[in-house]
């Protein structure tokens, strides 16, 4: 078959667009961890292939996906990939990529950023570009002494690789060992003292002190009580169950400050009786979290109906326990706050989402039909896409509804999927007629909805490039501003 030049270009553009949408969608939800339906190895193989493929074919766009709101795991992975393979780049390409990489490193949590850079070391790559980027990254760290304590091994390995000069006493501290001398820097001195004195121990970051306490056989309850003031909000949230087990009371958390997904995960970790007892508090926390989330990323919707999956498969895996259900809960709260008129249908039906537990089969068809009967502007389906009662019913309903009952497109249907399906190289779809969007955190729902038009396949490559360019501007602008305090 002979194609004209235009047709060939159009075909190439369409393929590029589809590839990129696939990749972005995968990057929104995949974390390389085990899921309910596939193991960690399959997930890793699948996402690694996607990264290799997109980097090899569309390098410029690949770098720009850093700005598209992909999750931390994939952002770190993209940074590693970009830094480990830059031999054939032009100087201006390097400069553009470099700015994105620095911004991305700044946006990542510290351990992930360090790990991304050490990933380059594992590939055996060491060049001027990497050293410059590491230098910039370390200069921008708010407190390098703190990093030298908390991420001691990582910082040390990174310096070992790049041969950069560390300020003050840090070089000696990391490489000559803390036993060598006394330190003028208070934090380093505390670390040294903590090896001998209990008081100094409780002035260290929790993760560092925890190891020392275990080595010194300090009672866990005593340790938790004394280290409580040093805990970060996330550590506090994580240690709730431990504290309850050990009978430590001083570890109260301020639910009003927790992020939406974290809050949902915490709520799901409570027994139904506890949730019932603390209903008012938890409900208020959900509303507050949703409002705060909308303040950061505004979303104004009309009449919305959600179909939310709480079937047994939302149990997730030991790596991500109950995450799918938590995201359904988060999306529920977020949509309620963002829409003028909101209805939720759970499957299997539940009267009280706050008491939801993962249980039962996935019947998306019935709730979806109920949802469409109310003629809303937007239907959001949150599910892992494995509907089995009956199989494929939801996709069929969407297809026929679009083709026969709503050709004008008054109702938009969007499928949000928190689970990466390894064999499909993306979140599992309900059918060709519904855009499926990966989602790692309920807070990213506005980004996902903005991306829905691309996932639906309605828009061209030019529009996708425009979208990415705009995101890049915002991303670089945000990175230039002083980093906000890390929330929960």
């Amino acid at each position: 078959m002979i194609m004209s030049v235009q047709t060939r270009h159009a075909a190439a553009a369409r393929v590029t667009c589809e590839d990129l949408v696939l990749f972005l969608n995968a990057c929104f939800c995949c974390t390389g961890q085990r899921e309910f339906y596939s193991d960690g190895h399959a997930q890793t193989v699948s996402i690694e292939f996607l990264h290799d493929y997109i980097r090899g074919n569309y390098r410029r766009l690949y770098a720009r996906t850093l700005a598209a709101g992909v999750n931390h795991f994939n952002r770190a992975r993209i940074v590693t990939e970009l830094l480990a393979s830059s031999r054939d780049l032009e100087p201006d390409e390097r400069r553009d990529e470099g700015r994105l990489v620095v911004a991305a490193l700044r946006s990542l949590p510290a351990p992930r950023a360090y790990r991304a850079l050490l990933g380059v070391r594992a590939r055996g790559v060491n060049n001027r570009r990497l050293r410059a980027i590491v230098r910039e990254f370390l200069t921008a760290r708010p407190d390098l002494q703190f990093d030298a304590i908390k991420y001691r091994g990582k910082l040390r390995d990174l310096i070992l690789h790049t041969h950069l000069r560390l300020p003050g006493e840090l070089g000696g501290f990391l490489f000559k060992g803390w036993k060598q001398r006394r330190y003028q820097t208070p934090l380093l001195e505390t670390f040294r003292k903590a090896h001998f004195s209990d008081e100094a121990l409780y002035e260290l970051p929790f993760t560092v002190a925890e190891g020392m306490a275990a080595r010194r056989k300090i009672d866990r309850a005593v340790f938790l009580r004394k280290i409580a003031p040093r805990l970060t909000a996330l550590e506090r949230l994580r240690l709730q169950a431990t504290a309850a087990r050990e009978g430590v009371t001083g570890l109260a958390i301020d639910l009003a400050r927790a992020g939406l997904t974290r809050l949902a995960i915490y709520v799901l970790s409570l027994a139904p009786a506890d949730r019932e007892a603390r209903r008012v508090e938890l409900q208020a926390a959900f509303d507050g979290a949703a409002r705060r989330c909308l303040r950061d990323a505004p979303l104004a919707l009309g009449r919305v109906v959600a179909v939310l999956d709480r079937s047994y498969s939302t149990t997730g895996s030991p790596d991500k326990p109950r995450r799918s259900l938590a995201i359904a809960l988060g999306v529920d709260a977020l949509l309620r706050a963002a829409s003028t008129d909101y209805l939720a249908f759970w499957t299997p039906a539940t009267v009280d989402p706050l008491l939801a537990v993962p249980r039962g089969q996935t019947d998306l068809t019935g709730p979806l039909l109920d949802a469409l009967e109310t003629r809303p502007d937007l239907v959001v389906v949150v599910s892992d896409g494995f509907d089995n009662d009956p199989t494929g019913g939801a996709g069929e309903v969407c297809r026929v509804f679009k083709a026969r009952l709503d050709p004008a497109g008054r109702t938009t249907i969007v499928h949000i999927n928190p689970v990466f399906d390894a064999p499909e190289l993306g979140p599992r779809r309900l059918g060709a007629s519904v855009p499926t969007l990966g989602l790692r955190d309920a807070e990213d729902l506005p980004t996902a909805l903005a991306f829905a038009r691309f996932a639906a396949g309605d828009l061209s490559l030019a529009e996708l490039e425009d979208y990415l360019a705009r995101r890049v501007e915002v991303f670089l602008g945000r990175a230039a501003a002083p980093a906000p305090e890390a929330g929960v």
Binding site: T365, P390, T391, G393
Partner: protein
């Protein structure tokens, strides 16, 4: 074993078939109960110590003259009330003594396959009831002392008679399928298909029992055919619903079309399980407890069809309260078929051969290949052609 009744299949009285869930080559079909009753409950008693167990089938438990030896992961304990009042599920709260367990030289001996532990509680060994029935088929050996039969066959019957089966965890993909299966709210049972061949049907009395025992599906045993199918086939197509969009004018139509498609698949699934649900079965009652009968069954043993053995608890009204089936492999069916034909013809080789439409040497080859050479004197089997006939 003496059969006391023949019926056309198990039927699905009181049960509904729900849409299948397919994982790889395994397809699990939920069976839901229409009206859940509380007067019969089932729990497991697991034999945690990994010592060999023997089941005394006759006489004293510690001096069994016939014993049944197998890997048995657990026993079921059945609790019931006669007047339909609810019973509390107590699971394995029975002591060894009440279970009839005794130690004999390092082997734990269970007293009988089915044993009434106390009024309103019955212990039995799942699936082994059916398997024992199958193994004991014409176990006594030749009734007439024809000269071809060996002395051993005449004095000890078919002993030792053995059959092989495969533990559920070794059936490729079954463990994953059982893990990923989403249990319905009113579910009491499940049809297990491997490469779309019916491997087993499982029914328990109560949805809570099913939920508790769902994972024990991988501790049941399956036939050799099921094991091979699981290796040979990677995938079965999902039962996806499809709607013809030209027929749809509004949402009510769409809803009706989906309901119809679902019902079609349900009927189709029941059709796939016809081997147990519709073909004729022969029954034997083992125990009667209140309004319930514990029975085992066996299909007609036709070598060219799929054959199942199983056990069931049936309420007087005909509702199925408990059921487990086992799909016999072709070789197992062949063995049972030959034994049955021999028994029908009073173990006379000439008459049997005539009934089967073959010559006597050909019948002997078939018996030898089926593993029954030990029943005959050596000279009878001499000069038979090698291979199959």
């Amino acid at each position: 074993m003496k059969f006391d009744e023949t019926t056309q299949g198990l039927g699905l009285r009181g049960l509904q078939v729900a849409p299948a869930q397919a994982f790889g080559a395994v397809r699990l079909v939920p069976l839901l109960k229409e009206h859940v009753r509380e007067d019969l409950r089932l729990g497991t008693h697991s034999f945690r110590d990994r010592r060999p167990h023997a089941v005394g089938l006759r006489g004293q438990a510690d001096a069994p003259d016939v014993a049944y030896c197998s890997y048995i992961p657990h026993a079921y304990v059945l609790d019931w009330t006669d007047d339909g009042a609810a019973v509390a599920a107590r699971g394995a709260a029975l002591t060894d003594k009440r279970l009839g367990l005794r130690d004999v030289g390092g082997v734990r001996v269970l007293h009988r396959m089915v044993r009434r532990e106390e009024p309103g509680a019955l212990r039995f060994l799942p699936l082994h009831l059916a398997m024992e029935g199958f193994l004991s088929l014409h176990f006594g050996g030749p009734d007439v002392a024809w000269s071809e039969y060996s002395r051993q066959a005449l004095s000890h019957g078919l002993s030792p008679r053995r059959e092989g089966s495969v533990l559920g965890v070794y059936v490729q993909g079954l463990e994953d399928a059982v893990r990923m299966f989403e249990v319905h709210e009113r579910q009491v049972g499940c049809l297990v298909f491997v490469a779309d061949a019916l491997a087993a049907m499982v029914v328990f009395p109560h949805p809570d029992d099913y939920r508790a025992l769902h994972r024990s599906l991988v501790r049941d045993f399956f036939g050799e055919l099921v094991y091979q199918y699981a290796i040979l086939y990677d995938d079965v197509p999902a039962h996806r619903v499809a709607v013809r969009e030209a027929e749809i004018a509004d949402l009510a139509d769409l809803r009706a079309a989906i309901t119809r498609a679902r019902a079609d698949w349900t009927a189709f699934t029941a059709e796939m399980a016809a081997g147990v649900l519709r073909e004729s079965l022969r029954w034997q009652t083992i125990h009667r407890a209140g309004p319930f009968r514990l029975r085992r069954f066996m299909s007609a043993l036709r070598p060219d069809e799929d054959n199942h053995i199983g056990e069931a608890i049936v309420r007087d009204s005909g509702e199925l309260e408990y059921c487990k089936t086992f799909r016999l492999s072709a070789a197992q069916v062949r063995r049972a078929y030959l034994l049955e034909k021999l028994a029908q013809n009073l173990w006379d080789l000439a008459r049997t051969a005539e009934a089967l439409g073959v010559t006597v040497p050909a019948l002997l080859v078939r018996l030898r290949n089926a593993g029954f050479a030990y029943l005959f004197k050596e000279h009878v089997l001499k000069n038979l052609p090698p291979g199959t006939v």
